[in-house]
């Protein structure tokens, strides 16, 4: 009886040991598997992480470039606009001063020649000297004396507001030509602006 119990205990122990060994092996194998899986996952994630990192850096760089362009572009434009306004202001002041000087200039001497040239140009453009001439009150005398050279022309009793020069009109009123100094300045202004701006150091 006692011997039988001992034998049974021994075989039970063997079985338990066997199961324990088997379980240990399974656990160790599974641990090994898990370890290699985790190594693999880690290796994979390193590549993914590096890719992701590169993407984040590239996106960041793009965004920074975009912001740089926005900021630099915006401030460049703002500075340029301020310069434009400053130059325009200076050009306007030059014009005002020049116009003031022309309107106060002496009407004697070469001025009569200028009026004759203006009348010549005007009658040529209209193709007739049968015209009515308009001028300002200051220039009336000079114009009146010059008109003797233009047969058929007459000086209007009306005066016009201008710095100087003449405005002519065909006698039927169908054609007009403005050859006042104001009109000349208007026509030349875009060219003169460039000259004045270059004096202020504005390059083309």
């Amino acid at each position: 009886m006692g011997r039988r119990v001992i034998l049974a205990n021994s075989s039970l122990e063997k079985t338990i040991d066997k199961i324990l060994d088997q379980t240990e092996q399974d656990v160790l194998a599974s641990l090994d598997g898990a370890l290699s899986d985790s190594h693999q996952a880690l290796d994979d994630s390193v590549t993914k992480l590096e890719d992701e990192y590169d993407k984040i850096v590239a996106d960041g760089r793009k965004e920074a470039d975009k912001l740089e362009k926005q900021i630099v572009g915006g401030s460049d434009i703002e500075a340029r606009n301020k310069q434009l306004l400053a130059v325009e202001d200076a050009v306007s002041r030059v014009f005002t001063k020049a116009v003031e000087e022309i309107s106060n200039s002496d009407r004697s001497g070469d001025y009569a020649n200028l009026i004759k040239t203006l009348l010549d140009e005007s009658t040529q453009v209209l193709g007739t000297s049968e015209v009515i001439v308009f001028t300002n009150s200051k220039d009336r005398d000079v114009v009146q004396s010059t008109l003797a050279n233009f047969a058929g022309s007459e000086l209007s009793s009306e005066t016009i507001e201008c710095i100087g020069g003449v405005k002519i009109q065909s006698k039927d009123g169908a054609m007009k030509f403005d050859n006042t100094i104001d009109a000349k300045i208007d026509r030349l202004k875009p060219l003169i602006r460039k000259e004045i701006a270059s004096k202020f150091g504005v390059k083309e």
Partner: protein
């Protein structure tokens, strides 16, 4: 620029639509600039359309509303319409006639140039072959734009062509060179909100610095629209051929230009052509489109992207039809893709850049560009066929390879075609996506690409 004054005539015989007929006119010239002065002293600009028998027909750009036969004067200025140009025009905003619209003074002009432009000597034209990167994958990858090319965008009303135009204007650049690049943007008859969007979009992205904007809004007189593309192209030609810049000109919407042309033609009682457009619509459009190009011995180039909205999405309408004869390909915006919410909704199967083959490849983009683009065209075309088939037999009736092509179609639309409006993709990124799409197919389906490229870039299987 002439500094002589002009004769003012006061005998107005007739005012008809946008036209004024002036009587007893001597020495007027075709295309001569005319200043029309109203009774109240308001001045409007116009140009001579016809002269003869002592009469001159003047087209008034700002319209004839408020003009009357008595009290209106027409001054023939003795020169054609000119645009003052200098490098200073960059960063400026002008109206449709080239007058400042940004509250700043007129630019200090370096030259005054006739807005009708000088015809390019065909013998001096250089074949366009350099790539322009727009940052929009579908254009750079499959419908590549080349410096000096004219490539129109055919769209329809309400579609996202203006978003695309603004995105191209913001992002476009020349790669692999230090040459200066500029964008001339002409908005023709657009809504005020659209004009503001264009202006803000360029301003906020910092791209305004290298751009010139011409804005003709829908409430501006229609006749001004005749001038807007011409002043824009004049500035572009100056920047390109005098200052050596590569200039991209975006003209939107050319349909509004053609409508204005029709209005004048109707007022002149000319015999109408198709849909009432004048018979010379083709010739007139060519005077604009042919101003794109490169010249031998000149550093710069003028590239044009005219945008037109096709009435009723009809590609056979005279405007897209005649435009297509003149330009070098077309980019077609698709209604179906637009409805699906795809941006930019470009239908690649109807689109084509005829000069693409010369502007891509080794030294321009990448040596595999042409072949990968062909393969993707082929695959997407097949995907469309499979989708049609699936509509009849159902997805269950498709073979495994059919399903792969269907997948290619989806990936193409979701990952390649779809792009955020502020997403600027480099050509390398674009080509990488194209390879990703092709890699969805088994290797034996890749028949249009050399093995060496497949070995290098294919990521499937």
């Amino acid at each position: 620029m002439t500094t002589e004054g002009g004769v003012q005539y006061s005998k107005i015989a007739e005012i008809k639509g946008p036209l004024v007929v002036v009587d007893d006119v001597e020495n007027a010239a075709f295309d001569e600039l005319v200043e029309v002065e109203t009774k109240d002293g308001e001045r409007r600009l116009g140009k001579v359309l016809e002269v003869g028998n002592g009469k001159a027909i003047v087209q008034v750009f700002e319209g004839t509303t408020g003009l009357s036969i008595s009290g209106t004067n027409a001054k023939f200025v003795g020169k054609v319409m000119e645009m003052p140009v200098s490098k200073e025009v960059l960063g400026r905003v002008f109206d449709g006639l080239g007058r400042p619209k940004d509250g700043l003074p007129d630019p200090i002009a370096d030259q005054f140039i006739d807005i009708n432009g000088e015809p390019m000597n065909p013998e001096q034209r250089e074949y366009p072959k350099d790539f322009i990167q727009t940052g929009v994958s579908v254009i750079d990858g499959l419908i590549t734009l080349v410096r000096g090319q004219k490539l129109p965008i055919f769209s329809g009303s309400g579609m996202s062509h203006n978003l695309l135009a603004a995105q191209i204007a913001r992002q476009a650049s020349v790669v692999g060179t230090d040459d200066d690049f500029a964008v001339v943007f002409a908005a023709i008859g657009v809504q005020y909100s659209e004009a503001e969007y264009f202006r803000k979009s360029l301003e906020e992205s910092g791209a305004l610095k290298r751009s010139v904007l011409f804005l003709n809004t829908a409430d501006d007189p229609a006749i001004e629209r005749i001038i807007t593309p011409r002043v824009a192209l004049t500035v572009a030609e100056y920047l390109a051929f005098e200052l050596g810049m590569h200039v991209l000109v975006i003209l939107t919407d050319m349909t509004n230009y053609a409508e204005a042309l029709r209005e004048i033609s109707a007022a002149r009682e000319e015999v109408p052509g198709r849909k009432g457009y004048p018979g010379y619509l083709y010739t007139d459009l060519s005077t604009l489109y042919e101003r794109a190009g490169k010249l031998n011995g000149k550093k710069g180039s003028v590239t044009q992207v005219p945008i037109l909205s096709m009435p009723s999405d009809d590609i056979t309408h005279p405007i897209p039809d005649l435009t297509g004869y003149i330009t070098e390909g077309q980019i077609v915006v698709g209604r179906d893709l637009f409805r699906q919410g795809v941006y930019p909704p470009i239908n690649i199967l109807m689109s084509l850049s005829r000069l693409m083959k010369d502007g891509i490849g080794e030294g321009s983009t990448r040596d595999d560009h042409s072949e990968i683009a062909n393969q993707v065209y082929d695959a997407y075309s097949r995907a469309q066929e499979v989708r049609a088939l699936a509509g009849i037999v159902g997805k269950a009736g498709l073979t495994e390879i059919d399903l792969k092509y269907m997948d290619v179609g989806d990936v193409f639309e979701k990952e390649f075609l779809s792009q955020a409006t502020d997403e600027n993709r480099t050509i390398e990124e674009t080509l990488a996506i194209l390879w990703k799409i092709v890699s969805k197919l088994p290797r034996n389906e890749i028949t249009k690409i050399k093995d060496k490229f497949v070995d290098q870039y294919y990521q499937g299987e």
